[in-house]
């Protein structure tokens, strides 16, 4: 083999970069998202069920919320009729946060795991946040 | 099959060509597009394989029985020896950037003259025999069977490439078609499929030291004639030395400079310059050829021919070597000589005895290009020049392929030209420097058998000359290459007859004001020198 030094070095760099995920995570604790539904409102529910199926909510909640806000702001339709026929007010504050009043334990779990940073909180007040702010 | 085609074509003019894949189109050997095969005597003299009488237009090429084995073994051997070959076989993405960079494609339109396809000719065989994917997927992966038709195709197209490397400038991976053509030709050589226009000069050079096979005494005659002409036109008697031991510098130039027009005028330029400087130098009859048609044959042949220069330098005990204006000669000297026949530890690092300049860029090979040498002289004001003697000339400069793309000697000749003549005009920028166009006669194609092909391939170069001729009245095309001087002359004669071809040092010789010269009324060519007043009839 010729130019051994340079080529081996190059290959090592290449292999290192390719397998970087393997190295990067060595020795790091494997944290799995563990979203908690343990809020007062949910505890009181007989049937613990979100407005749509869990799977739909996991995959499509962002598009659903996006649709909600368009509907509420632009079409002044404020009520959502779920597939199961229940009525919900389309509002983060009035509906979602009612049950999911634990932003850190619920939203954040997956969002920080998947590194998704929505800009919801630039305007919408995180549940519980107003207290901190008010006391300032 | 071809006959049937022709008949059909004659009776049915509505015949539409099928959209064939390139692999299914075989070349037609027509006069003007191929070179005659090497004569057996030349091959025999050089101990090369399969010397025989044969013809490319004939069906049977009289290949050896185990031709396939020879080719495949040859390929394997070269893949193992040349990383360039192996890498270039693998990494082409067929982006097509090279397609319209080849002068033969531009001038002729034959798709297989696109560098990418020229390389695919051999790549397809490589894939079929040396890669797993190619062996399994076959044609789907662009692989094909090695057949005799493939050999014919190789012969046709690898002798339609002038190894000018223009495509390699534009290739995003630097794939160099010259390298591929050289491998292709080496493989063809193994089968004895080579051309006489290359092999005869090789044989001659091997034996006598120069391409035409001129023997030492005849060489002296040629010089004699040149010296007589110099005496007539300049009034100075020059007596150069030959094979002189103990000289400081050995001077090597392509042999075309001794006996071919217009090279001789360039040679006279060297003689005048070196005489005027009083340089302690000598010519050699043994190493009397700077050119090296081995480059168009095989790496081994390059080495066999090139060995003479260092051997002669060692025998004569010179300190360093000065080289004349030539293209492929300088590719060999610059890129191969030291590696093949060095180290030249018996020589000294070149120093100009006139200016004291140390040529650091030649400190290992110990061979200096005369343009570098002369540019240094002019820069240090060591020459008395009268550029007005070249006032008749409106000059442009053709960068020869090898000095520009294998060496990068671009500014030196321009510097010299601008000091020895007053009217200098550049050709369009995409046709000069590293993007220069070939004369279409390099790499052993400069023969009359290829005349149509050469005129076609020379179109881009001729066009650029036409451009400056139309705009600025350019009438002289300068170049630094013996093959250029020969083939551009013809090319110009056909496309732009008003333009003549010249070497750089011919202009130097004309402009050089020498001690003891008579009043110059004739140029080195014997044309009258324009007076500053009157004599406008020329």
């Amino acid at each position: 083999m010729y130019d051994r030094g340079k080529i081996i070095a190059g290959l090592v760099v290449f292999a290192g970069l390719t397998t970087l995920p393997f190295w990067y995570n060595i020795g790091k604790a494997r944290v799995r998202p563990d979203p908690r539904l343990d809020t007062p409102a949910i505890r009181q529910m007989k049937e613990k069920h979100c407005i749509e199926s869990k799977r739909f909510m996991i995959e499509y909640h962002m598009q659903m919320l996006n649709g909600w806000r368009n509907a509420v702001v632009r079409d002044y339709k404020t009520t959502y009729v779920s597939t199961s026929g229940q009525y919900f007010t389309m509002s983060l504050e009035d509906t979602c946060f009612h049950c999911h009043s634990n932003e850190k334990q619920f939203c954040n779990q997956c969002h920080s795991y998947a590194d998704v940073k929505p800009y919801c909180w630039e305007c919408h007040v995180k549940p519980g946040e107003e207290i901190a702010h008010g006391q300032r | 099959m071809p006959d049937e085609l022709k008949r059909k074509e004659l009776v049915d003019i509505e015949y539409r060509p099928p959209k064939k894949d390139w692999m299914d189109v075989a070349p037609r050997f027509r006069h003007g597009t191929y070179i005659y095969p090497a004569k057996p005597k030349n091959l025999k003299y050089l101990d090369m394989p399969n010397p025989r009488e044969w013809g490319p237009a004939e069906a049977d090429w009289k290949l050896p029985d185990n031709w396939k084995e020879i080719v495949l073994n040859g390929m394997r051997e070269r893949l193992d020896r040349y990383r360039s070959f192996k890498v270039f076989m693998d990494i082409c993405v067929r982006c097509g950037a090279c397609a319209d960079k080849c002068h033969f494609f531009i001038g002729g339109g034959d798709p297989k003259n696109m560098p990418v396809l020229r390389a695919e000719l051999i790549r397809s065989v490589y894939r079929g025999n040396f890669t797993k994917a190619g062996r399994i997927l076959g044609r789907l992966n662009g692989a094909r069977e090695l057949t005799k038709d493939v050999i014919k195709e190789w012969f046709y197209y690898f002798y339609q490439c002038t190894e000018c490397r223009r495509c390699s400038v534009f290739c995003p991976y630097g794939i160099d078609t010259a390298e591929i053509t050289m491998m292709g030709r080496e493989l063809l050589n193994l089968l004895g499929c080579n051309v006489n226009w290359v092999m005869e000069p090789v044989a001659n050079c091997y034996r006598t030291g120069n391409h035409l096979g001129i023997q030492p005494h005849a060489l002296m005659d040629m010089f004699g004639m040149m010296l007589d002409d110099i005496k007539d036109r300049v009034g100075i008697k020059i007596e150069p030395s030959f094979n002189r031991k103990g000289a400081e510098i050995l001077f090597v130039t392509p042999s075309a400079d001794y006996f071919a027009e217009p090279g001789i005028y360039t040679c006279m330029g060297y003689l005048l310059l070196l005489h005027e400087l009083g340089l302690d130098y000598t010519w050699s009859t043994y190493a009397s050829e700077g050119g090296n048609f081995g480059l168009f044959t095989s790496h081994e042949m390059i080495k066999r021919l090139n060995a003479k220069i260092y051997a002669e330098a060692r025998r004569l005990g010179v300190k360093w070597i000065l080289g004349g204006e030539c293209g492929h000669m300088w590719r060999v000297i610059h890129q191969y000589m030291d590696t093949m026949n060095g180290p030249a530890d018996f020589l000294e690092e070149p120093v100009s005895p006139i200016t004291g300049t140390r040529f650091e860029n030649a400190k290992s090979t110990k061979m200096v290009h005369i343009a570098e040498f002369t540019a240094d002289l002019i820069k240090n004001d060591k020459l008395k020049l009268d550029p007005s003697r070249n006032d008749d000339l409106r000059v442009t400069f053709h960068d020869s392929c090898n000095p520009s793309r294998a060496m990068g000697i671009l500014e030196e000749p321009r510097y010299i030209i601008k000091h020895v003549c007053n009217n200098f005009y550049e050709m369009p920028e995409n046709t000069i420097r590293e993007q220069t166009f070939c004369c279409a006669g390099g790499a052993g194609l400069g023969t009359d058998e290829m005349m149509e092909m050469r005129m076609r391939g020379g179109l881009p170069r001729a066009n650029a000359v036409q451009y400056v001729h139309d705009r600025h009245g350019v009438n002289r095309l300068t170049c630094m290459c013996a093959i250029d001087r020969a083939t551009l002359t013809t090319l110009m004669e056909y496309w732009v007859p008003e333009v003549k071809v010249t070497g750089v040092h011919e202009l130097v010789g004309n402009a050089l004001v020498m001690k003891g010269e008579k009043e110059r009324v004739l140029t080195l060519r014997g044309d009258p020198i324009k007076e500053t007043e009157g004599d406008e009839h020329v």
Binding site: I51, E52, S53, R55, F56, Y60, Q63, M64, N66, G67, W68, R69, N70, A71, V72, V73, R74, D75, Y76, K77, T78, T79, Y80, V81, S82, T83, T89, M90, L92, E93, D94, F97, Y119, E122, C123, H124, V125, P127, E129, E130, H133, G134 | -
Partner: protein, 272 residues
């Protein structure tokens, strides 16, 4: 798992169908779909999957909402403050001390509020009398006309709305508004909000905002906060309904509007 499987097969059907059936055209059409989706309601595309959207049955509805401000009933400073504070609190209006302030409902002296309606011999005290100002909810709003993104638009019930998610902050509407009703969030408003009301979003920096007749309250069946707080000094109702309180009030009292000559047809009436 069963439904998962069905869902999966549907996805596969769609995706392979897309790939096989239309190849690159598929790519193109999905790019177009992306465009429409981005442009319109994302949920509409998924309407079949999830529920439907309707307006709230309890929402207050009108042909054209309007407000009459009975200046006669604004006597003490507290009359003004009540209305303004009610709005500020529920809408998270920041209190920014500089010229880059945010105002939804505020007061200006009569001479500034009605510069074209003055003479030297005005009723005593009127010249300096504070007037409550807010977005006029014009029938022909210049701000809507100039908005390059449709971030401000007029609802069918006449309310000129702001879509904070769409506003790019070009402030063309502010230049166009002849009433100075619009404010721009030059900075993040949150540090300037004394008490954040969790039921209503704050705004982010870089968007324009203004009074929207408490559209969110109307949708819940409530009157605008200022009206509620005004103890009857402000009357809110449907101009298209001849029996509404506001029509009745307007028909029996003299009312003026700001800059009527501009033809914007404000929906705020002032009763002197």
């Amino acid at each position: 798992m069963d439904s998962d499987k069905r869902r999966f097969l549907r996805f596969m059907g769609i995706s392979t169908g897309l790939v096989i059936g239309s190849g690159f055209l598929g790519g193109l059409s999905s790019a177009l779909r992306l465009g429409t989706k981005l442009g319109g309601s994302a949920l509409a595309a998924q309407g079949a999957v999830s529920g439907s959207l309707i307006s709230s049955p309890s929402a207050l509805k009108a042909g054209r909402w309007a407000m009459a401000i009975d200046l006669r009933k604004f006597k003490t400073n507290d009359d003004y403050r009540r209305c303004i504070d009610a709005c500020d609190e529920i809408h998270n209006i920041p209190d920014i001390p500089t010229g880059q302030e945010i105002k939804w409902v505020w007061e200006e002296p009569y001479e500034n509020a009605f510069p074209e309606q003055q003479n030297h011999y005005l009723e005593k005290g009127l010249k300096d009398k504070p007037i409550l100002l807010m977005c006029n909810q014009c029938e022909y709003p210049p701000c809507v006309r100039v908005c390059p993104t449709g971030a401000t638009f007029k609802r069918r019930d006449g309310i000129v709305m702001m879509d904070y998610h769409r506003c790019i902050g070009c402030r063309y509407c502010m230049a166009a508004c002849p009433y100075g009703s619009r404010s721009f969030n030059f900075q993040d408003p949150r540090p300037f909000i004394k008490h954040i009301c969790p039921d209503y979003p704050t705004r982010t920096k870089g968007v324009v905002e203004k009074c929207d007749f408490c559209a969110e309250r109307l949708d819940k069946g409530l009157l605008p906060a200022c009206v509620e707080a005004s103890n009857g000094a402000m009357v809110f109702g449907d101009l298209d309904d001849p029996n509404s309180d506001i029509r009745k009030l307007l028909s029996k009292s003299f009312s003026i509007r700001r800059k009527p000559e501009l033809g914007t047809q404000p929906s705020i009436f002032y009763i002197l």
